[in-house]
Each structure stands twice: as C-alpha cells, then as structure tokens.
Symmetry: C2
Subunit: 113 residues, 2 copies
Amino acid sequence: MTETSPGVCCPAPSSQPDLRPVEGPEADEELATLAKAIGHPARVQILRLLTTKTSCVCGDIVDELPLAQSTVSQHLKVLKEAGLIRGDVDGPRVCYCIEPRAMRRLKVLIAGM
Amino acid sequence: MTETSPGVCCPAPSSQPDLRPVEGPEADEELATLAKAIGHPARVQILRLLTTKTSCVCGDIVDELPLAQSTVSQHLKVLKEAGLIRGDVDGPRVCYCIEPRAMRRLKVLIAGM
DNA sequence: TTGCTAAATCGTATTATTCCGATAGGCTCG
DNA sequence: CGAGCCTATCGGAATAATACGATTTAGCAA
C-alpha cells in the first residue's frame, strides 16, 4: 500500500512514564531550553494551533501568522530543535504536530517549580 | 528594635482566584513573556533557590551562581520585570522572593496548552 | 522534461542577550 | 562624617535572535 491516507501523521502517543528527574542541574538546563523555545509569541501561537487542531496542520500555519514564510519556517525549526514538535514529510508538504512527550515533560518541569 | 530579625520579607500569599483568560492573543503574549524570563539556566536556578528556601534569600544568590554580581543582578531584574519575583529592600540588602501569583499564572498557562 | 507548489536554507540587517569590570547609590556602624 | 558593605546601573564587547527577500531543494503533475 502506498498509503495516500489523509493527513494523519502523528501516530503513537505511547505514554511511557517519564523517569527523568524534575530538578537538578540537568533539569534546570532542560527547562530553560524548553522555556526559551516557548519564549516568543509566534511560537506560542504555533503550538496553540497545533494543539487545537487535534490533527496536524501544515503550512497553513503560515497563513495564520502575520509573518513571512521563511520566518515561520525558522520558528518551526526552533520548536523542532527543542523537541516540542515534529515534522513529518507528507508528499510535497510537511505536516507538523505536537510532540506530546515533550509537552508533558515541560508541564511536569513547570509544575515542579 | 532595629529588626535584625530573620529574612522574612514575603508576606501575604493572598490567594485570590485568577480570572484572566488562559488563551487568546493576550494570554499568548503573556505566556511568551513569562517563558522567555525562564528561558535561561541561571534564571531557572535563581527561581529554584527562591522556592526551595521558603524564606527569601538575598545576595546569597550571587554566591550560589558562577556569575559576576552584576550579571546576577541583571538576571534578577529580568525576573522582576516579568513579575516572577519581587525585591524588598531590607536595610542595606535586598530580599528577593517568588511572586506566587505569577508562578501560579505561569503554571496555569502552561498546563492549558 | 518542464513547470508548479511547498518548504527549507542562505545572506543580511537590525535588534536583543549575555556577560563582565567599573562606577554610582544607599544604608549602617563606628 | 567617613568607611565598608550590598546592590544597581553604566559602558562595552561578543554573541544570539528576529525578520525579511531571494534562492535552493523536493515532490508532484502535466
């Protein structure tokens, strides 16, 4: 099957428990990195888009934001490098979606403060 | 009494309910601002110090961090401008402490993602 | 192949962060 | 008052972030 299936690109939630520590130098560093990635209105907006649309939108993000395509792409890159989102190539376009594990991690770290 | 009392400078918790919205443009902006303030390891460490020490430490923060006094002061300023901490002048020194309201707000905003 | 669409990357200008040493301001004690 | 401590601010240097247009890369379709 060549799988021309609809825009489903975020499969396994796979909620394994997270065993990493919630404090200590490494956790501090991790929290800082994640927070820094969220520390921009455009990136918050992108994350919001990707969470509300349960499924994953693609370059429609560009249409939603008052920014140039290249700028949005860069913000997506920042979020991806922080591990907060994932980008699956789906034909000519790329389908971005939340990385639930990282979001959970962020929430835990923040809650642990 | 000249009040050489211990470092108590963070009085009223005053847990009023927070009625501000958890999403929307303003919330996005707010979250970005708060996250940006936390987006640096030194500042995470400072917040951690201020939370673990239930009471509020002062310039001892400088001793705990591997940074110059002026640099720490600047990080404290960032946190203060974000509303996450407060600095009460206590004689010759300044007593910093968490602003619980802002921390709660941050947790709510993150949890709401 | 050629052209079209979508996304990433490059080059670049502007602004913001980060860090430090040096300096200034405030308070307390002698 | 003057010395000493604590903190903030200034000035500057190096680096990072932000944004954009232009270009490149990749897939799809005619």
